[in-house]
Point group: C2
Chain length 148, copies 2
């Protein structure tokens, strides 16, 4: 089920929040806990439902707020696929996403630095990019790494 945050994760959360002038609140802890509990890529609704088990009064708006705050201070990444609901991902290492056409599951794909470099190199002069999103769509019959 949903374990509490380790000391380490708690510090991580606190540091990131404080650094961008935000406060640590019980709701934010709860949402962050949910995100770390399963390293999948939950939608806002999934986060909401999971977090409610731990904090029943929590409102959907707050989940939106928390997640937005986390994105703002670099704690999590948003993952968008086509027009589906936005998903959230606490894996901060540079990685691509692979979405299984049939199951809808999203898998993290590691991005070696040389691939990142070759991608950056295809930008014509004058183009300066901060964020590169790479997403695959297909079929995976994987034994599961980080799934959903």
């Amino acid at each position: 089920m949903i374990r509490n945050l380790t000391e380490h994760d708690k510090e991580h959360l606190q540091e990131a929040l404080v650094k961008s002038g935000q406060k640590v609140t019980p709701q934010r802890e709860a949402v962050f806990t949910v995100l770390l509990a399963e390293r999948d890529h939950p939608t806002v609704d999934e986060v909401f439902n999971r977090a409610r088990e731990v904090m029943p009064g929590l409102s959907l708006a707050t989940v939106y707020n928390c997640l937005e705050t986390f994105v703002g201070c670099g704690l999590v990444r948003q993952v968008n696929h086509e027009r589906e609901s936005t998903r959230y991902c606490p894996n901060l290492a540079p990685h691509a996403h692979f979405r299984d056409k049939e199951t809808g599951q999203v898998h993290d794909i590691e991005l070696p630095p040389e691939v990142m470099k070759s991608l950056r190199s295809i930008l014509p002069p004058g183009f300066d990019s901060e964020v590169i999103e790479i997403s695959f769509l297909g079929r995976a019959q994987a034994k599961d790494t980080h799934s959903n």
Copy 2:
């Protein structure tokens, strides 16, 4: 403004439609004409407004239908950026998209085959991908190639 389709483009449209069992209709021609007229990345609404100049009775639903049909028979690509409205792109050559953070304009970025290959190579065994989407977000002070 909006010119008529060249013979060549008309054949292209007809061939693709017929090949997937669809009919050529005036509405589809109008929408396709709009897409080719400016090689930008219009939203459904933009396509709708432009196409209305040429065919005033055209309905929004039809524009959605036409574009869906075109995507289905490989005539155009959808371009999604975060949660913004879907845009449509008649450039079929493999390419990435660069979105200017400030202007919102979308630029096509050519994708050399070796980059495609290196991307495909990072997929672990068992993962089979048909579609790869690559999008950059940043600032461009470009002299303009294919813009918007």
